[in-house]
């Protein structure tokens, strides 16, 4: 079975971290990752940029609505994610809009650039 493990925390506190503390946390997390990667069990690992870098795509009555900032509602649940290489934000938005069009549901696609990405080892 594959598992996704998601990390939640208060962003304004993380933003108040010193660079030294941030580096240390990343190194400590990296050490845990390393052990699982060596056992051939760890897939992609990503750290998202702050939510201030986010753009959100939602279905509107006539056209898609593209909003600055993260997805803020709490009644929906986090269901899945995609990692896309895109040269520009517009390209990422186009991808999200295609997903939205292909999906009959009224879900929202939040676009969050990655600050850190480790593709991990091949796992099955």
């Amino acid at each position: 079975m594959l598992y996704a493990v998601l990390c939640y925390d208060c962003e304004s506190e993380i933003n108040a971290w010193s660079k030294e503390l941030d580096d240390k946390v990343m190194a400590d997390l990296g050490a845990v990752n390393q052990r699982y990667a060596e056992a051939g069990k760890l897939g992609p690992v990503a750290r998202l940029m702050p939510t201030t870098a986010a753009v959100t795509v939602r279905k509107g009555a006539t056209d898609d609505i593209i909003m600055d900032g993260p997805f803020a509602e709490t009644k929906e649940q986090f269901l899945g994610f995609f990692v896309l290489e895109a040269a520009t934000l517009d390209e990422a938005i186009t991808f999200a809009r295609e997903l939205s069009a292909a999906n009959p549901a009224n879900g929202t696609y939040e676009i969050r650039p990655l600050q850190f990405f480790n593709p991990g080892v091949p796992i099955t």
Partner: protein, 418 residues
């Protein structure tokens, strides 16, 4: 992380929201600060025992408001404080109440808190000091150290600034869209000042002052509150781009390394990438502004893998746009750098010379002019310009940099005489 360090971070991150709400309640900076301090003391006592509250800001607002009201009553009636248990036993239901009370206001609360620090009567240094003390919660000692003044002098400066702000009256009405946009512009400029104070500190030993990181935190906070403001995206991007070069800006001896000579592998890619996304976001709004353009210029430098690959044509065009939006001799001077790279020193000098009167007291004017004259082989004029620049240098690193140019010019002059 130790418990104390965790609580300290929680207090720091909750501070703008809590101080903003307390300022709205008490309409007085000193009272709001005292109330917040008291709430922090109680947090340090309560949180280790009872665990962190779900919403630290709401907790601090609630406790701070109660203790502030007590203070007001105490001073008014000279009556003793009510027993501690009445206030300190706070449950989450009460926090929720505080949260409901404040949620609707919190955006304007924080904007007001930032706005009072950029009162037009306050000189830049006082705006910076006040914002770092009131909003960021830096200690007077930290601020004094960065400004190279004594703690007592800084304390006095902040007290005077607060008195001026108080006398001018703090605007408590909820701003309309126009007033809000105006406040936002002034606050953005103030945050840029905070950053520049750290950035231009000059030497690496002073570059570790928390000003730059603090300005970035404030810019991100502002962007969280106003997520669709392209100029705030521009501001945040600009600060991130400038800060990304921190490790490359000085050599091992503390000497300034010019942008074109910097080791670009030392630039912080994560900060640059974040800035580039913010610029992409801002461009989608199609309402250019001065901060967005400056960020776009900085981004062109960041995108160039080597100095030689810099897109000077684009940079020149962006400076021309900036000049139309915000005509200023300093912008013209910066444009001259791009022109010198595109079209050579002669064309650049033609742009620079007419600025002589307006920028006669400006270090960079004489530095750039000297550099252009030197490139043209007009050594004695270059020497004179560098002499003026060195007299206007504000940091040892600036002076040392000009000294190198002077030495070089003197060598050329000596060689010519032979």
């Amino acid at each position: 992380m130790t418990e104390l360090a965790w609580i300290d971070l929680a207090l720091t991150s909750a501070r703008p929201q809590a101080m903003g709400a307390l300022l709205r309640y008490f309409r007085n900076l000193d009272l709001a600060e005292e109330a917040f301090q008291e709430a922090c003391l109680r947090a340090l006592k309560n949180w280790p025992e009872k665990g962190p509250p779900r919403d630290p800001a709401a907790w601090l607002i609630f406790v701070g408001r109660n203790s502030g009201i007590d203070q007001v009553r105490k001073r008014a009636k000279h009556q003793p404080l009510p027993p501690e248990e009445v206030l300190s036993d706070l449950e989450d239901t009460e926090s929720d109440l505080a949260d409901r009370l404040d949620g609707a206001h919190y955006r304007d609360d924080i904007l007001r808190l930032l706005f009072v620090c950029c009162h037009p009567d306050l000189p830049a240094t006082q705006q910076i000091a006040l914002a770092l003390r009131i909003v960021s919660g830096l200690s007077v000692r930290q601020i004094a150290k960065a400004f190279l003044v004594s703690e007592a002098a800084m304390e006095q400066r902040i007290t005077r600034a607060k008195a001026k702000v108080g006398a001018a009256g703090i605007p408590f009405e909820t701003p309309d869209a126009v007033a809000r946009a105006e406040r936002l512009g002034l606050v953005a400029a103030m945050i840029y000042l905070v950053f520049n104070e750290g950035y231009s500190a000059g030497a690496p030993e002073r570059a570790d002052t928390p000003f730059c990181a603090e300005a970035i935190r404030l810019a991100r906070l502002l962007l969280t509150l106003f997520p669709s403001e392209p100029e705030i995206m521009g501001l945040t991007a600009l600060l991130l781009l400038q800060h990304s070069r921190l490790d490359a800006r000085f050599d091992a001896d503390g000497q300034i390394v010019l942008l074109e000579d910097q080791d670009r592998s030392l630039w912080d890619r994560a900060l640059i990438d974040e800035a580039l996304v913010l610029i992409d976001k801002a461009i989608r709004h199609r309402t250019p502004g001065a901060l967005q353009i400056q960020a776009a210029i900085a981004a062109l430098h960041a995108r160039a893998t080597t100095a030689a690959e810099t897109d000077w044509l684009q940079i020149d065009l962006l400076y021309q746009t900036l000049e139309r939006l915000q005509p200023s001799p300093v912008v013209r001077l910066n444009r001259a750098v791009a022109v010198s790279k595109r079209s050579g020193p002669e064309a650049a000098l033609a742009l620079v010379e007419p600025l002589a009167e307006k920028l006669s007291g400006y270090f960079y004017f004489h530095g750039l002019r000297g550099g252009l004259l030197k490139q043209l082989g007009r050594y004695s004029e270059a020497h004179e310009a560098f002499d003026r620049a060195i007299a206007l240098a504000t940091t040892p690193a600036e002076a040392a940099h000009i000294r190198q140019h002077l030495d070089c010019v003197q060598r050329e002059m000596a060689a010519a005489e032979k």
